[in-house]
């Protein structure tokens, strides 16, 4: 069984935000909710690097560990999903997440949070695949159609890779060997407790 992962090659990312709008477009994510975003460090200075960031679908996901209602579950593809029917919008997962992935629609004037929303690795939610009910809550389910997350598929420079962890690690490894440099697979140690040796 494939173990799905994201990998952002920071030496390729140009902060074009294709991943961000591809996600918005594919899932019709409303204004204010960002399942994916691009973060730039050393902005405007030599050594500037960007990485695109979303739920990394961690091994032993901390969000799941802290959820008081146990709304998270991990699929056979190791994608971390959650049930919006169970979610109570408490926000614990937001504090637990090392990547800032969980998002909350604001539903009232007093800072009250709605159901948590986050990247699904384009794998929908607990509802039956590719149904209206699933789409409304979680967006489309590309994985069930044999496709990978659209953010990675549309990445302008093929910086963002998504897929079986073994395969994308191999692609990255070959790139680093060929070009002679690499800054490591960003976030992998935190998310998957491993790195890519080259």
């Amino acid at each position: 069984m494939a173990r799905m992962k994201f990998l952002c090659d920071a030496d390729r990312c140009i902060e074009c935000n294709a991943c961000v709008t591809a996600c918005k477009n594919e899932h019709e994510v409303p204004w204010g909710i960002n399942r994916r975003r691009v973060v730039t460090i050393n902005d405007g200075k030599p050594g500037e690097r960007s990485v695109t960031m979303a739920c990394m679908h961690c091994t032993d996901a901390p969000c799941a560990a802290v959820c008081p209602v146990n709304c998270f579950y991990t699929t056979a593809d190791a994608v971390v999903l959650h049930s919006k029917d169970l979610c109570i919008g408490c926000g614990y997962c937001f504090y637990a997440c090392p990547f800032g992935a969980p998002q909350y629609p604001r539903v009232g004037n007093f800072g009250s949070r709605g159901k948590m929303d986050k990247c699904t690795f384009c794998a929908g939610g607990p509802e039956a695949d590719n149904t209206e009910a699933e789409f409304v809550k979680y967006g489309t389910n590309r994985l069930a159609e044999g496709k990978l997350p659209l953010c990675a598929e549309m990445c302008s420079t093929k910086s963002l890779l998504a897929g079986d962890g073994e395969i994308i690690a191999q692609i990255y490894r070959e790139r680093v060997v060929k070009r002679g440099y690499g800054s490591g697979a960003w976030g992998w140690r935190t998310a998957y407790r491993e790195t890519i040796a080259t």
Binding site: K45, S156, T157
Partner: protein, 986 residues
């Protein structure tokens, strides 16, 4: 520390939960269909639809049960890279975008804009129906009323002031067919006042590059950059402006371990990936190039054989370069000798090297000279006409290359034929319109007792339309001032000096805006009436071809029908031509059914007349076959294997020139001037465009004749193994090759030439016979000439440095002044006076910061369309100015705070309000602004002036409210890339 639950078992996937009994996580199409209720409708639809077009298991909002989903391909409507957009359509609604994996240009990729184009045809903020201003209020009207009223008003202006008083501002967002039709429309109306965004984008590139070696376009392609060992980007930020091109640049950099040099005032997102970043002062391109050439010539790093065989006038460049010793270069540009030398050595020695540029070279009062200097560097190092080298000029809009080619321009008819009598006669033959009737549409003026045919006089550039409106009539060299603006697909905030433009808008008798959005035109200035908005659909709602920066043509099919009451460009032009009474003539050979114009027929007409630039071989059938067979083309060579059906041997998109008739099956030209290939494989030489020889004056007063033809260089397989002039029927006869013409070809040539058939050249031969026969002998019909390092017909034949009009270095103006005042393109250019006044008044002290501008990845052009797209607007919600921390600290400005920006030409006391982005991205004394914003004007919110519901989500101050005077003498290009401003805390 969080407790990790490693022992926790992975739950079964969502899929297997939903489908007990199914094997895990895999789902075939059949089971998807069964589950999604598609079986009955979906499979029934299979009977009537080709299998490939039926949605398998697709994403996007799920289609209605039973609804078939079709896949349609079009091209992204934003930048010039030309990414394929794959649309899923169900019940006439665009429900999802999929990656276009098969396109060799983008291989599935998009940038933020491309990944969000589906929103454009949902169009929450689109203009929904025709509107007009009635006493300052937007009022809905019908199409019939709109066309009728506009036509009557245009006729009234024509009768009173002549046809030149109506200005036709077209768009780089038209398809090729739309561009051509709009240019043709202006001809039938009777004016050369017809222009588009290339004026403010790459007009100087086209003029400078074409005057160097023949054609003014990107010589190679995005894909070919994968072959480069050294990439030098001077004046461009493709990471934001052409993001998908970075796929080729970065992969090339990695695979070749290439040098990636970025020379720019700004440490841009492209520079973040550079192996060497060089920070220059805006407006010092020529000294930088000459500084490099100084080292190259001094150390003998130039390509001597290349210069000897293929370049004219390099010695004149050497003389000019001598003054640019390292000390002077450092004084003017600020660049240290060691860095300039290192970059020069890398570029000259680690070949193939290519030079990439965009508006950072072109948008200057010396824009043409800038790009000429770039070409000279390429020629000196022998870096043109091969794989991995060349002038990789990244064009801006999705079809700015095509719109330029098709003559949406004040100086030429379609395809660079110019405005001479011969050019008009050529097109009249193609259009089957009587030349005398055409000539009768244009006025003739009398100047100094001599008649001047306005038909053959270049029009007014789009940068100067408001000067042509506001200046005293005597200063505008046509019958009357500009009284009406007909604006299609063109922002109002992309031209400098907006306060003047606002006054110009107020003075117009008629303003017509045809666009998917109201644009800045609708809100700038205080108009009360005689203003019309026509809803025009996007290219996703009609069909047609567009030319990417690499000269490849790609056919886009209609994805959905025009939304709301909008219509496509072709149909609106047909309506207007019908109203004005020349539709029958103009659409003589173009099919119109129930008001719907055939875009295929327009392209066929272009093919019949497009010999000069090789737009003759790209028939709609061939282009459609390319879109269908995208996966057959190689990523690097862009070529399909010879044995592939339909497209075998072709380069992707038949990049122009694609010579001869479509039946000849010329493959297109991937790399221009490449002598390593046979002409029938896309090989060629520098164009013999500037004569056969030139008489040079020597210092002792005598003259000598110098050949302008190539010396011992020729394209592979050429039967003439030396330079040769361009081919005519007469030349064919001399060579004895005329016997190879078919009877039909000979008859056509004789019909075209009449009494002077021998003079019929390859570019006006409507049969294509001369091209065919020349190429059969391995020769290129446009001749085999030398490129010109000295372009004697330009104001500065060898580029010389001239300070920007508003320079931060008034001490250099005495040595490097701008050119004297002159009348250019019907209006005066008083740049010299403006520069002198600025120096005398000490403007650089009052406005001590350099202001330059550029693109953001999320927005494009004037930005109305992209700022109306909710997925993009969310990412950039504020207009801002980048300030160096030192400059900000001096002024007490914090990052993110509002600041007030003023420019030297703004009305006294007025300011622009925007946010400060304090960053080291810009050097000390330099500020940078994005140019996509509008809807705030000198600190006043204009939102209430938009038609209700059609206002963009994000509004902001336009940088062009701050920008200033300054025009290139060759093209009328503006100078927004180097001006001055002052910033203070709000």
């Amino acid at each position: 520390m969080l407790i990790k639950r490693t022992e926790r078992q992975a739950r079964r996937s969502a899929l297997t939960q939903a489908l007990p009994g199914q094997s895990e996580a895999s789902l075939d199409r059949r089971s998807f269909l069964r589950r999604s209720g598609l079986v009955a409708g979906g499979l029934a639809a299979l009977g009537t639809l080709p299998l490939a077009s039926v949605r398998k298991a697709e994403a996007g909002p799920p289609p209605k049960p039973g609804a078939a989903v079709t896949i349609r391909k079009n091209i992204c409507t934003h930048c010039s890279v030309g990414c394929t957009v794959v649309a899923e359509v169900s019940d006439g609604v665009w429900i999802g975008q999929e990656p276009g994996w098969d396109s060799p240009i983008n291989r599935g990729s998009h940038c933020a804009k491309g990944a969000s184009v589906r929103e454009l045809v949902h169009g929450d903020r689109r203009l929904k129906y025709p509107m007009k201003l009635v006493n300052g209020q937007w009022t809905k009207i019908s199409w019939d009323t709109a066309i009728s009223e506009i036509g009557d008003k245009m006729q009234a202006i024509r009768e009173k002031s002549g046809p030149d008083s109506v200005y036709w501002l077209g768009s780089a967002k038209f398809s090729n067919e739309g561009s051509y039709l709009f240019r043709k429309f202006a001809a039938y109306w009777g004016t050369n006042n017809v222009d588009h965004q290339a004026r403010i984008c790459h007009s100087t590139t086209v003029a400078g590059v074409a005057n160097t070696w023949g054609y003014g376009a990107m010589t190679n392609s995005y894909n070919d950059i994968r072959n480069s060992k050294t990439l030098m980007i001077m004046g461009g930020n493709p990471a934001e402006a052409h993001p998908v091109s970075l796929q080729h640049l970065l992969e090339g950099k990695e695979l070749q371990r290439a040098n990636f040099i970025v020379i720019d005032p700004r440490m841009s997102r492209t520079a973040a990936h550079a192996t060497e970043y060089v920070r220059v002062r805006p407006g010092t391109h020529i000294p930088t190039i000459y500084g490099m050439l100084w080292h190259i010539f001094r150390n003998g790093w130039e390509d001597k054989q290349f210069i000897e065989q293929r370049v004219y006038g390099m010695d004149d460049v050497r003389k000019e370069v001598e003054r640019w010793n390292p000390k002077e270069v450092e004084r003017v540009t600020g660049l240290p000798e060691a860095q300039v030398r290192r970059v020069a050595e890398t570029f000259a020695k680690q070949k193939p090297s290519c030079l990439i540029w965009a508006m950072g070279q072109t948008q200057f009062s010396v824009g043409t000279a800038n790009v000429r200097a770039s070409c000279i560097l390429l020629l000196a190092t022998g870096n043109v006409g091969g794989f991995g080298n060349g002038a990789n000029i990244f064009r801006g809009h999705c079809n700015v290359q095509g719109a330029t080619d098709l003559g949406l321009d004040i100086v030429t008819l379609p395809l660079y034929y110019g405005l001479t009598e011969g050019a008009w006669k050529h097109w009249c033959r193609v259009w089957e319109t009587d030349y005398d009737w055409m000539a009768s549409r244009f006025p003739t003026r009398t100047v100094n007792g001599k008649p001047v045919k306005m038909m053959e006089t270049a029009g007014i550039p789009s940068t100067r339309w408001f000067d042509a409106t506001l200046l005293p009539q005597k200063q505008v060299q046509q019958q009357d001032n500009v009284k009406a603006m007909i604006v299609f697909g063109h922002g109002g905030n992309t031209v400098t000096r907006m306060p003047e433009a606002a006054r110009g808008i107020e003075k117009l008798d008629l303003l017509v805006v045809g666009d998917p959005h109201p644009t800045t035109w609708a809100v700038l200035g205080e108009r009360k009436d005689n203003t019309y908005l026509l809803p025009i659909c996007t290219q996703f709602e009609c069909s047609g071809s567009r030319t990417a920066s690499n000269r490849s043509l790609q056919w886009g099919e209609q994805i959905v029908k025009p939304i709301f009451e909008s219509k496509n460009d072709y149909d609106v032009m047909y309506l207007l031509a019908s109203k004005l009474g020349f539709a029958d003539r103009m659409f003589k050979n173009i099919k119109v059914e129930n008001g719907a114009v055939s875009s295929e027929d327009i392209l066929r007409e272009i093919n019949r007349g497009g010999w000069s630039t090789g737009y003759c071989g790209q028939s709609p059938e061939r282009l459609k076959a390319h879109m269908k067979n995208q996966e057959k083309f190689d990523l690097v060579t862009l070529r399909a294997p010879k044995d592939v059906p339909e497209v075998g041997g072709d380069y992707y998109g038949l990049p122009w020139p694609c010579w001869g008739t479509p039946e000849l099956r010329h493959p297109g030209t991937h790399t221009l001037y490449n002598t390593n290939l046979h002409v029938m494989d896309g090989g060629s030489t520098f164009r013999a465009r500037f004569g056969v020889e030139r008489e040079e004056k020597l210092s002792d007063g005598t003259t000598r004749k110098v050949s302008l033809l190539a010396n011992g260089s020729y394209s592979l397989g050429s039967e003439i193994r030396d330079g040769y002039p361009q081919f005519t029927y007469g030349v064919l006869k001399k060579l004895g090759w005329d016997k190879e013409l078919t009877e039909a070809e000979r008859a056509t040539i004789e019909r075209v030439g009449g009494k002077n058939a021998d003079g019929v050249s390859w570019s006006i031969d409507l049969s294509g016979g001369i091209q065919r026969v020349a190429m059969a002998h391995g020769c290129i019909h446009y001749g085999n000439g030398k490129a010109r390092a000295n372009a004697w017909n330009l104001p500065d034949p060898v580029p010389v440095h001239r300070e920007p009009i508003y320079t931060p270095r008034p001490d250099l103006v005495a040595t490097y002044p701008t050119r004297p005042n002159a009348v250019e393109f019907r209006v005066p250019n008083v740049g010299f006076d403006v520069q002198k006044t600025a120096v005398d008044k000490g403007i650089a002290k009052q406005f001590p910061l350099i202001n330059t501008s550029g693109r953001l990845v999320e927005y494009e052009g004037g930005g109305e369309e992209t700022r109306s797209n909710k997925w993009l607007a969310e990412l950039q919600q504020d207009m801002f100015i980048e300030l160096n921390p030192a400059d900000a600290a001096e002024r007490g400005i914090r990052d993110g705070a509002f600041v007030l920006v003023s420019g030297p030409e703004m009305p006294a006391g007025r300011v622009c309000r925007m946010k400060a982005l304090v960053t080291e991205r810009v050097g000390r004394g330099v500020t940078w602004c994005p140019f996509h914003f509008a809807g705030w004007f000198m600190n006043v919110d204009q939102r209430s002036k938009y038609p209700s519901g059609a206002d963009p989500i994000v509004l902001g101050e336009s940088v062009n409210t701050v920008t200033t005077y300054g025009f290139d003498p060759v093209t009328g290009m503006q100078e927004p890339k180097a001006t001055l401003c002052q910033v203070r805390a709000a």
